[in-house]
Symmetry: C2
Subunit: 472 residues, 2 copies
C-alpha cells in the first residue's frame, strides 16, 4: 500500500501547501477573547479535513475554553494505537510592525512560508494530517490512530487536561506522538526527551486610589511602576540568578551522560548569539552552559508591563496601578504550586511601602523528562537513523508542552516528541516561518510515525526507504 | 457699564454652561495623532465664540503642531494690556473603565460637571471667554485684552513657545493672566507664584534582535523589561530619593518666610492622604513636608512601560525592546538640559549587560518662580481680599505650565496665575470635574482680571462689590 500512498503524497504536494495556507489564514489566537470565533473556525477547518480524508468519529469536543478536535481510525486489531497530538491555536502576532508580510497572509519567500503558526503548530499538525490522508488513500491504516488536537496550547491547555482526566478510558493508546518540537540543526535527527515546566503570573501593584497628576502629586503619591520595577529588580540579580529564596532547592541536575552528550552537539555559542538572539552578549545564570541554562535551569522573564500611559507622546500621570506579566520556567525537582508559593511569599516581603501587591497564577505546567529506554523511542531512533543516516540526538526543550505531562499522568503512555521545526523559525516572534522543504520532507517522514510494526520495535523498513527518497 | 455686564452674565448662566458642555464634547487630545482633527475642531469652536462675542482679529495661527487661537480688543488707550491665556487641548482619558460617565459626554451630578477638560483647562478658559462676552455686551472693554490660547499645553507647548519667540513684538502686553491653576481650598483666595519645571523622557531598552520564545531562549537572551526594571530601581531609592548623581546640586530652597507661610496653610496631611491620594501611606523624599516635596523638590515618576505583551492572558515572549515613560519635575536652580544630561549619563553607567539603552527627551519646561511684589499681583491680592474677605495665600504648583516661563523670557511680563480649580478635581485622571458653582462664581470673579484700572494698582472697586454679589 505504501507505493500508492507515497505516489498520492508526491502528486498532491502543491495542494497540501495551499490547504496549509488556508489553515494559516485563520487568526486562531487563543489568548485574545476577540478571536474566540476564529479559534473555533480553525477547529472546524481541521475537523472538516479529517472527515474529508476518511478519519472516523470526527468531532469537536467542547471544553470550558476552546474546543478539542478528535478523530480516529481503529481497524488494525493487535497493532498499537498511536495518539497523534498537535495544536491549532497560535500566539498573538504583535509587534505587528516587525512582520515583513502580514502574519495571517502566508507568504513564500527564500524557500520559507512566513505566517503566525507556520511552525508552531499548524504546519506541523498539517504534516500529520497529510500523512494520514496519503495512507488512507491506499487503504486502511496499518496501525490504530487517534487524533487529538487542542486550541489552548498557547494559554496553558486547561481544556485538554480536564478532558484527559475525565475521559482517559476513551483514549486508550500505547504512545503519544507529539509533533511540536524542532530539529537541533537542519538534517540532524532529533528527539526531544525533556521539557521545562512553567508558571505564568501577573503581579499587580496598586498605589493611589485613582490616577493622579504627576505634577501635583509627584513627591507624595506612591508610583506603582517604580514600586514594580523595584520588585522585579529584586527577583533576579544583575548576573541572571533568581533571587527568590529556595528557588533552586531540590533541582534534579541532568545526568553526567546527558551533559556529556550535550557537549558534543553541534552548538556554536557565538553563532547562536549572533544569528538567533542577536544581542551584544548572552545573559543568564553564571556557571552553566547555554544549553544547561535554557534546558535544565529555571529562568524568570518579564513579558510586558501593562497599565499607565502607553500611547504616543506624553501623559503626566501617576497611574493608580501597574501590572507585570512574569513567568518562571521550571525544571525537574520543581513544582508549579511550590514555585508560585515561593514567589508570592517573597514578593510580600519586598513590597515597597505605600503600595499593595497581588500575585496571580494565570497558568502552569509541570516539567517533564521522558525516558529514552522505551520501545517507541527506540523505534523512532532506528527510523530516524535509516532516514538521515545519522544517530539521533536527544535534546531537551526549554519551552513547555504541558500536555506531555498529562499524557504520562492520565494515559500512562510515553510521548515521542518528533518535530521538524528549525532553530531559526521565530516561534512566538515576528516572521515565524516554516521551511517549505521541511514541510514536504517532514510530511513524509511522519509516515514513519504511523507505520509502527506490530512488534512496536521498529519502523517498517520499507517506509523508511521511501522517506529517504523524499529527502532529496 | 458693569451693571449691564453683570445682568447679562446672570441671565446667561444656563446657556454658558451648555456652551461649555459642547466645548467639552470635543475630544481634543493633543498627544494622540488620531485626534488631530478634534484638536483643530476645538480651536475653531473657540475662535467662533470669540468672534461671536465681539472680539477682533480672531484667527487660528498655524504652528508645527496644533494651532493657536488669537483674538484682541485694543480700544482703551493708556490702559494696560492683558494677555489672557488658557489651553483648549486635554489629556487622554484612559483608563476609560474608571470613568463613571463617558469622558467626552459632560455629565452633571453632585453639583459638578464631569468631563475630560472640565477644569484643565476648557472650563477655566470658558470662564474668561464668558466674562469677556458679558463685558463686551455692555460696551468697549475698560482695558486692552489679547486672548492667546494653545492646543499643545499637554504635550509641551512647542508651538506657542516658538510663536512667542518669533512674534513677541506683535504681542505687546503688560501682564499675562493665566487661568489654569486652583484654589488651595474652597473659598480660599489663592494665587500661584511658582511652578515646577519638567523633563519628560522615554527610556528605550533593546535586547535581542527580535521577540523570542521565552521557553526556548529564557536563560540566555537578555530581557529588556528586567533590564529596564533594574535601571528604574536605581533611579530612585526605596525612600523616594532620586539617585541620579548631582541631581540636588544647586537647588534654590524656598525662603524661610515662604516655608513659614506654607506651614500656616489649611493642610491636613492625613485628610490629603485619605481623600486625595487614597494610598496606605504617603511616600517621597524623607525630611521634607508634603508641600515642600510637591512644590519645591524635584521628583521622578514612571508613567507607563509600553512594549512586550500587554493583552489579556499569557504570551510567552522575551520582547526585543521595552520602553519606559519617565519624567522629572524640576525646581528653581535646575534646568531641563542639565537634568536630562545627568539622567542620560547616569543611565549609561547603570545599563545592564546584553542590552542597549537610548534616553530621549520628549519635552521639557523650565521651573518658574513669579515675584509677589509686582503691581499686578498686588492688585489681584487686593481684589481677592475684597471678594473673599480673606487674605490671599501664595502657593506654588507642583505641575508645569511651560508658557509662564516663556511669557517672562519672551514678553518680559509677569504672570498672574489665578485659577479656580479645586484640589479634588481629578486633573489628568478619570472623573475629572469642575464644580458648577465654581464656574459661575469664577466666571464673574474673572471680570476682575479684565478691569484693572489705569494705574494698574488695584482692581476697580466697583467691580469687586459686584463680584461679592456673585459669591452667594
Amino acid at each position: 500500500m505504501l507505493e500508492a500512498a507515497l505516489a498520492f503524497a508526491e502528486g498532491n504536494r502543491a495542494q497540501a501547501l495551499d490547504e496549509l495556507k488556508n489553515f494559516l489564514r485563520i487568526p486562531s489566537i487563543s489568548t485574545l477573547p476577540e478571536h474566540t470565533p476564529d479559534v473555533r473556525r480553525a477547529a472546524e477547518f481541521l475537523a472538516d479535513e479529517l472527515r474529508r480524508i476518511g478519519m472516523e468519529n470526527v468531532r469537536l469536543i467542547e471544553t470550558s475554553g476552546h474546543p478539542l478536535v478528535y478523530a480516529d481510525s481503529l481497524h488494525a486489531p493487535g497493532k498499537p494505537t498511536i495518539l497523534c497530538y498537535g495544536h491549532y491555536d497560535v500566539q498573538p502576532p504583535d509587534p505587528l510592525d516587525e512582520w515583513l508580510s502580514p502574519p495571517f497572509e502566508p507568504t513564500e519567500r527564500n524557500g520559507n512560508i512566513y505566517a503566525r503558526g507556520a511552525v508552531d503548530d499548524k504546519g506541523q499538525l498539517w504534516m500529520e494530517v497529510k500523512a494520514l490522508e496519503a495512507l488512507l488513500k491506499a487503504g486502511p491504516l496499518p496501525v490504530n490512530v487517534r487524533v487529538l488536537s487542542e486550541g489552548e496550547e498557547e494559554v496553558g491547555g486547561e481544556g485538554i487536561a480536564t478532558y484527559l482526566r475525565e475521559h482517559h478510558e476513551e483514549l486508550k493508546c500505547d504512545v503519544a506522538l507529539v509533533c511540536d518540537t524542532e530539529l537541533f540543526a537542519p538534517d540532524l535527527p532529533t528527539l526531544c526527551v525533556g521539557l521545562r515546566g512553567m508558571i505564568y503570573t501577573e503581579i499587580e501593584v496598586r498605589g493611589a486610589r485613582t490616577d493622579l497628576h504627576s505634577g501635583m502629586y509627584g513627591g507624595a503619591a506612591p508610583n506603582p511602576f517604580v514600586a514594580l520595577a523595584q520588585v522585579i529588580a529584586k527577583l533576579k540579580d544583575d548576573e541572571g540568578r533568581i533571587l527568590i529564596p529556595g528557588i533552586y532547592d531540590g533541582i534534579e541536575a541532568p545526568t553526567a551522560a546527558e551533559l556529556e552528550a550535550w557537549k558534543s552537539l553541534p552548538f556554536d555559542e557565538e553563532h547562536y548569539r549572533e544569528t538567533e538572539v542577536g544581542s551584544s552578549v548572552l545573559t543568564g545564570e553564571p556557571g552553566y552552559s547555554v544549553l544547561e541554562r535554557t534546558w535544565a535551569r529555571p529562568t524568570l522573564d518579564v513579558h510586558g508591563m501593562p497599565g499607565g500611559f502607553t500611547g504616543a507622546g506624553a501623559k503626566t500621570v501617576i497611574p493608580a496601578k501597574a501590572l507585570a506579566k512574569v513567568s518562571l520556567r521550571l525544571v525537574p525537582g520543581m513544582t508549579p504550586q511550590d514555585t508560585f508559593d515561593k514567589l508570592r511569599s517573597y514578593v510580600a516581603t519586598i513590597t515597597p511601602k505605600g503600595v499593595s501587591i497581588e500575585v496571580r497564577l494565570i497558568h502552569s505546567g509541570e516539567p517533564v523528562v521522558v525516558g529514552t529506554d522505551n520501545p517507541f523511542i527506540h523505534a523512532a531512533t532506528e527510523a530516524m537513523h535509516a532516514v538521515f543516516n545519522k544517530d539521533t540526538v536527544f535534546v531537551r526543550g526549554g519551552g513547555s508542552i504541558p500536555i506531555v505531562g498529562d499524557f504520562a499522568r492520565q494515559l500512562h503512555v510515553p510521548a515521542v516528541m518528533m518535530g521538524f521545526g528549525l532553530p531559526d523559525d521565530n516561534l512566538h516572534a515576528p516572521n515565524e516561518k516554516l521551511t517549505s522543504a521541511t514541510f514536504t520532507a517532514a510530511q513524509n517522514r511522519s509516515f514513519a510515525s504511523c507505520l509502527w510494526r506490530g512488534d512496536e520495535s521498529a519502523f517498517q523498513a520499507r517506509s523508511l526507504e521511501r522517506l529517504e527518497f523524499f529527502k532529496r
